[in-house]
């Protein structure tokens, strides 16, 4: 289409002055429905490692024309073995040493939030809590959104603050503090009548006790040391999302690319592709693939032959690795008020798939998850 002609601009400007030609910017009542969602999710890793069962429920309640209240509740049941450190194995191959007994933990978390919509602006405030045996977290976030250009452009900025306490099974009441501040900014833009693009940037600054109290590090001829990470972490991430509708296949295609970097030396990249299609009978299917890679932290090593510096970790999550996985889901509108979604995801994490850094094959595993969600809207 292109820019509006001067003739049209003149007529439109005069038309806008006429009383009642356009509805007020505020949403009409009924725009924000009541909603309740319930999800059951099961996550498991190969090799008898972690299993998590998650139950989650959320609700949205509109208050008048401009306000919304939201609430979320989660319960996680975690069990299974977990890697502790890496040690030299037979034939010179490094091996992973897992926790002997099954670790079992029960996490409860919840958050409440309120949103206010005034014209093209929206402000959301949220407060959340999370508690498990050896970890507690309290967080607050504030996000503002504004629409421009007749909703062709949306700008969002946000800030979150979280205060966490980390303890361990040995000393469950001895909590060490960790604080994280997150800054977020994003722009969503309609490109043409069937495509959108979104660019977002996130910066976070954490300080305090950032190590993992359950992880150890093997040092040749010295024994085991506790996992020790720097007291500060600064991370920056940039994400680009592109979503377009392809008429030839009556489906939408989405590509999401992100890059991140931090002061621990971990650089990561991810690319996710997704296809979504509506099918007759009120079905919606989606399928996609995701590739992720990260380089190892500067202070990471699978194990140490000489005593390491102040910061040292063998945590497989700070290693260099890549993972490739698939995602698929099906959604069905059961009645005008209820819909159900079933989704599955499976990912292969391999040290060899990385683009940089250090990692070991012993850390490789496969993880998968299945979830079922019921949604009600009134």
């Amino acid at each position: 289409m292109g820019a509006i002609s001067p003739r049209l601009a003149a007529l439109t400007a005069a038309a806008m002055a006429l009383p009642g030609v356009h509805a007020r910017a505020a949403d009409a009542p009924g725009e924000h429905p009541w909603g309740v969602d319930a999800t059951h999710l099961e996550y498991s890793e190969s090799g008898n490692r972690m299993r998590v069962r998650v139950n989650q429920a959320s609700a949205v309640v509109p208050i008048g024309e401009s306000f919304q209240l939201k609430a979320n509740g989660i319960q996680d049941l975690m069990s299974g073995a977990s890697p502790v450190f890496n040690a030299p194995g037979p034939g010179g191959k490094t091996q992973q040493v897992l926790t002997g007994a099954s670790v079992f933990d029960n996490r409860k978390a919840g958050d409440i939030g309120a949103s206010a919509s005034i014209g093209d602006n929206q402000l959301t405030l949220r407060q959340g809590w999370s508690k498990e045996n050896d970890y507690k977290s309290t967080w607050t976030s504030l996000e503002g959104k504004r629409d421009f250009n007749r909703k062709s452009t949306t700008l969002a900025v946000g800030f979150a603050f979280s205060n966490d306490g980390v303890s361990s099974h040995d000393a469950p009441d001895d909590f060490r503090t960790r604080i994280k501040r997150d800054f977020f900014g994003g722009v969503t833009q309609i490109i043409d009548e069937r495509s959108l693009v979104e660019l977002s940037v996130e910066y976070s600054y954490s300080n305090g006790f950032l190590s993992d109290p359950y992880k150890l590090v093997f040092v040749q001829s010295a024994g085991l040391l506790r996992d020790a990470r720097p007291g500060r972490r600064r991370q920056t991430a940039v994400t680009v999302k592109y979503l377009t509708y392809v008429p030839a296949i009556d489906s939408s295609l989405q590509a999401v690319g992100s890059l991140s970097t931090d002061n621990w030396g971990i650089g990561s990249g991810a690319l996710e592709l997704q296809w979504k299609k509506e099918l007759p009978g009120e079905w919606l299917v989606n399928a996609g693939a995701r590739y992720y890679t990260q380089s190892s932290a500067d202070f990471y090593a699978p194990l140490y032959l000489t005593p390491p510096g102040d910061a040292h970790s063998s945590d497989y999550r700070l290693a260099g690795f890549g993972s490739i996985g698939w995602i698929a889901g099906v959604t069905k509108q059961l009645t005008p008020n209820f819909s159900v979604q079933i989704a599955a995801e499976r990912s292969y994490r391999r040290a060899g798939l990385r683009s940089g850094g250090t990692g070991i094959d012993a850390d490789n595993y496969i993880w998968g998850l299945y979830l079922v969600t019921l949604q009600a809207r009134f």
């Binding site: 049209l8 003149a10 007529l11 005069a14 009642g20 356009h22 509108q333 005008p336 008020n337 009134f378």
Partner: protein
């Protein structure tokens, strides 16, 4: 452009081909059960209808009542045929020559008409109403040049001084007619009333000037069939509209037949003669007033109508005297 003739059995006027609900819900939108309610009525010399999707008859009827009341209010306020209308009050002053202060709503309508006058190079003119005297439907011969010249002396927006809120007629015998703006303005207002009452799916149809409140609840657009200018049972084009407005003008709506030749009801303020250019034109715009003025101006532009529409840039479709179809929807 090849002529596309979709011969679909259709009555006179605009036909809606209700899109079959493919029944896939727009997940973020309201999902309560809604039914389509239709409220036909007569206003502004045309057959009108309000269509609303609502969850209850009571709410739909109440909203339709309010919207129809507003349309009738405007009909009364700007009627040519009533002594107590604002148009009559202005024309009494115009007839004698003089000045009159108008209310806020009338003032913005005059501002809008002034903008149309400028964008149409002086063809869209509220004062061209006096020409109707010589072009009544029962006319059997063409008016002579002298008569037309005498009438044209009393036509011309440039001869009126409009400075909000005062309208000044420098000499007697002029006449103002809001007919070219009020119907579309009423359609916009009616849709706004329904939208502000919470309705998000439906449309307002005032004799072919349509303003959409929102698409069908399943997200599909309203399929609007545009009357073929020459073949009553046929459709010139079918337009899918999710929102916004569409207006249609043509030389087939009202006309005078003299010596076997058809003269349209749209009169040029320059020559005093009916325009002869496009046979029919439809324009889509976010506002019905803009869509309506665009079609009127396109007709007034005669041979330059298609070019003017391209300049404006709104989606449109036209048919010329040779039955050729053109425009963005062709």
């Amino acid at each position: 452009m090849p002529v596309k003739l979709d011969v679909i059995p259709a009555g006179a006027g605009i036909q809606y081909l209700a899109a079959t609900a493919s029944a896939v819900h727009n997940a973020a939108e309201e999902l309560t059960m809604v039914t389509l309610y239709r409220y036909p009525f007569a206003a502004m010399g045309s057959r009108c209808e309000i269509r609303l999707y609502a969850s209850s008859e009571e709410t739909a009827a109440a909203c339709a009542r309010a919207a129809i009341d507003d349309v009738l209010r405007l009909e009364t306020k700007y009627s040519r045929y009533r002594d107590d209308s604002v148009t009559a009050a202005i024309n009494r002053v115009a007839q004698a020559g003089g000045a009159i202060d108008v209310d806020a709503e009338t003032a913005t309508l005059l501002d809008y008409a002034a903008a149309c006058y400028e964008q149409s190079d002086g063809l869209f003119d509220l004062t061209s109403g006096v020409l109707r005297e010589v072009w009544s439907a029962d006319r059997r011969e063409l008016p002579d040049t002298d008569t037309l010249q005498r009438l044209l002396a009393r036509v011309g927006w440039s001869k009126v001084r409009w400075q909000r809120p005062r309208l000044v007629f420098g000499f007697p015998g002029m006449e103002i007619d809001f007919g070219g703006v009020v119907k579309e303005y009423a359609a916009d207002r009616a849709a706004t009333l329904c939208a502000e009452a919470g309705f998000r799916h439906g449309l307002i149809d005032l004799g072919g000037d349509i303003k959409i409140i929102g698409p069908h609840p399943d997200g599909t657009p309203w399929a609007v069939g545009i009357q073929h200018p020459r073949i009553k049972e046929a459709v010139m084009a079918t337009l899918d509209l999710f929102e916004g407005a569409i207006a249609t003008s043509g030389d087939y709506e009202r006309f005078v037949e003299i010596d076997g030749r058809r003269y349209s009801h749209i009169l040029s303020p320059r020559t005093g003669m009916p325009v002869c250019g496009l046979a029919g034109v439809s324009v889509a715009a976010p506002e019905c007033v803009v869509a309506g003025s665009a079609t009127t101006i396109a007709m007034l532009m005669e041979d330059r109508g298609a070019q003017w529409l391209d300049e404006v840039g709104l989606p449109h479709v036209w048919m010329d005297q040779q039955l050729r179809v053109g425009g963005t929807y062709a």
